[in-house]
C-alpha cells in the first residue's frame, strides 16, 4: 500500500505557504508526518490546521514550497496516482441526493476505474470489505440520508478506505458526534492505524487526541508551535500558549496519557483568566 522508497516520512511539507486568494493562512510550513504514525493536528479554530491538511492533500496548491508524498513531489504526479496513495475525508463532504451506501462507497474506487472498466469484481469486493471494516456492511442498500450521524461517519470513512491508500487524512471526523460515537470513530481509526496505515487527523478534544495519537502537532496562527509524542506536546505551558487557557495536566487514570484539566472557573472561586487572544470564528462557509 505504501510506496517502496525508504523515506521515514510518509508525507512532508517543505517550506509550504498556503492560503486563499489574497489571504495567506500558512507561511513557510515545515512538517513531517512519520510513516505508520497516527498524527493528530490540534489548535484553536482558524489556526490553519484544516488548511494544512488540505494543502497536504493537494486541495489547495501551495504558493511556495512543496508537498512530498512517499518521497515524490505531488505537484509532479498525476492526481489520479496520488489518489491511490493518499485519501482525504473533508470535514463536510456532500452527500449526492438519494445515494445508497453501496453506491457512495463505490465512488471511492474512482482512481482505479476507467470509462470501460467502471465496476469490476475487485471494486465490488473492496467496497464490501471497506464497509465490513467499519461495521456498516448491513447498511449497503440503505440510502445515506436515513442513517444516524455515527453510522454516516463510519460510511464516509468506508468511502476513503475504498481508495486503498496507505495514508488517510481525516478533517475533524468526530465533530458533531456524541461522546460514544466519537470513541467509536477513534477506535476505528486506531484499528486502521494498527493495520499499517498512516493517519493524519484533525481533532479538537485534547484528552482524546492524547489517548489515540502517536504524534501530535500543535498549530497556532498558521505556525507549528509544538510537535512530538503526546506527553511532550500536551503540557500546561503548550495549552496556555496555543489556546490561552490555564490548566493542569495530569496522567489519565486509565492510560497514563496526558489529561487536560482546565483551571477552576471564576464562578467557583477561580481567578479570572485574562481573555484569550481574539481568535477568529471558524469560517465554515469557506470550504
Amino acid at each position: 500500500m505504501t510506496g517502496t522508497d525508504a523515506s521515514p516520512d510518509a508525507l512532508e511539507a517543505r517550506g509550504v505557504s498556503l492560503g486563499y486568494p489574497r489571504r495567506e493562512v500558512i507561511e513557510g510550513l515545515d512538517l513531517r508526518i512519520r510513516r505508520d504514525s497516527f498524527t493528530v493536528l490540534i489548535g484553536p479554530n482558524a489556526c490553519g490546521k484544516s488548511t494544512a491538511l488540505k494543502g497536504l492533500a493537494r486541495l489547495i496548491d501551495p504558493s511556495r514550497g512543496s508537498i512530498v508524498l512517499n518521497g515524490h513531489d505531488i505537484a509532479h504526479r498525476r492526481t489520479r496516482d496520488v489518489a491511490r496513495e493518499l485519501a482525504l475525508l473533508p470535514q463536510s463532504p456532500i452527500t449526492p441526493p438519494s445515494v445508497t451506501v453501496g453506491d457512495l462507497v463505490a465512488r471511492g474506487r474512482a482512481p482505479y476505474q476507467s470509462l470501460l472498466r467502471q465496476y469490476s469484481r475487485d471494486d465490488e469486493r473492496i467496497v464490501r470489505e471497506s464497509l465490513a471494516t467499519t461495521g456498516t456492511l448491513d447498511l449497503i442498500d440503505r440510502t445515506v440520508d436515513e442513517l444516524s450521524g455515527g453510522q454516516r461517519q463510519r460510511v464516509w470513512i468506508s468511502v476513503v478506505l475504498a481508495q486503498q491508500t496507505g495514508v488517510l487524512l481525516l478533517d475533524e471526523p468526530t465533530t458533531y458526534l456524541d461522546l460514544a460515537h466519537q470513541i467509536e470513530v477513534l477506535d476505528l481509526c486506531a484499528r486502521l492505524h494498527a493495520e499499517g496505515r498512516t493517519l493524519v487527523v484533525v481533532l479538537h478534544d485534547l484528552t482524546l487526541a492524547a489517548r489515540y495519537a502517536t504524534d501530535i502537532v500543535a498549530f497556532k496562527a498558521g505556525r507549528v508551535v509544538a510537535q512530538g509524542a503526546p506527553a511532550e506536546v500536551i503540557t500546561a505551558a503548550t495549552v496556555r500558549e496555543v489556546f490561552g487557557v490555564e490548566c493542569a495536566v495530569i496522567a489519565d487514570p486509565h492510560t497514563g496519557t496526558p489529561l487536560v484539566v482546565p483551571a477552576r472557573p471564576p464562578h467557583l472561586g477561580g481567578e479570572t483568566q485574562p481573555p484569550a487572544e481574539p481568535t477568529h470564528r471558524e469560517d465554515r462557509s469557506r470550504s
Binding site: 475525508l89 473533508p90 463532504p93 474512482a110 467502471q118 465496476y119
Partner: protein, 350 residues
Amino acid sequence: MSAARATVRLLGERVSFRVGRRLVATVGAVLLLLVVCAAIALYTGNSAISVDGVTAILLGDYAGSTSFEIYTVLDVRLPRMLAAVIAGGALGISGAIFQRLTDNPLGSPDLIGFTGGAATGALLVITTGGGLAVGTALGAFAGGVVAAAVILALAWRSGLEGYRLILVGIGVTAVLSAVRAYLLSRADLEDAQAGLRWLTGSLDGRDWGDVGIGAVACLMLVPATILAHRPLDRLAVGSELATAQGLTVSRWRIGIALIGTAWVGVAVVIAGPVAFVALAAPHILRSLTGGAGPLLLSSGLLGGLLLLLADLVGLRLFAPTQLPAGVVTAVVGGAYLLWILQRRRGRTMG
C-alpha cells in the same frame, strides 16, 4: 449489488458498468414515444398522402407517388422531424449538463445567459439587414461563444463554482435582454418582425442544411458528452472530495461547461432560443428515474421527444393556424414550472 442498479460485465470483465433499472425502463419508454411521434410527423400533415404512399417514399420506392408528395415527405416532413429531435436533444443535454454543473435545477442554459447570448447574436445579424439563414446561424454561434466566454470568465475565481455561475449568468441574461430590446427598438418594422419571429424559436421550414449542421455537431459532441459523463458524476460529492479522489476538478468543470455551451449553440442555430426544454427535460427525467447520475444522453432523448411533440402540437392542434414550437414550449413549460413550485411549496408547508 443494490436492487435499483444492475451490474453489467462483458468481454471477460474488460468492460463493466452499472445501470439503474428505472433508467433503462424510462429510456425504453421515451424511445418508444419518440418513434410514435416521429411516425405521426412523417405520416400526417396538410397534404394528405396515404400511409402506403409515405412508406413507399421512405423506402425509396417513388413509382406510385407524385413529385410533390416525394418532396413533402423527404424534403419537408423528414428534415423538420430530424431537426426537431436534434435541437431538442441538444437542449436536453445542455440543460442536464448545466443543472448538474451548477448543482441547481434552475441552472439551465436559457436562464443563465448561454441561450441569451446566441439569441442576441442572431438578432444582431437579422436587424442589421443580413437576414439570411446562414448569417443568422453564424450570428447565433458567435453570440453564444462570446456570451459563454464572458460568463465563464466572470464566474471564474480560481475554480468554477455553481452558485457563482448562476448569479453571473442571471446578470448577463439581464444585460443581453436589454441589448435585444434596444436592437428591436432601432430596427425597421420588417427586420423587427423577423427578429421577433426568430426569438420565439420555431422549426418552420427547416431543411437538410439544418439537419446536416446538427448531424456533424452530434458526431463530435456525443463522444465528448460520453467522456464527460463520469467526471460530472464524480463532482457530486463536492470539489474537495472529488479532487481527493483523483479528479482534475477545474479542468473538467471548464471542459464540461464548454461541451454544454456547444450543445446550446447547436440547438439555437437550428431552432432558435426555444424556451423550457433544457429546464424541463432533465427535471422530468430525474423524477421518473429516481435521480441517480447526470442523465446526459437520456435527457437528450427526452428533450428531442419534447421539442418534436411541441412542434407537432403547434402544427396540428389548431390547424390551419400554426403555432411556433417555441410558443408551445413556453406555455407548457411555464405551466410546468409553476406546477413544480406549487407542489414543492405544498410539500414543505404540509
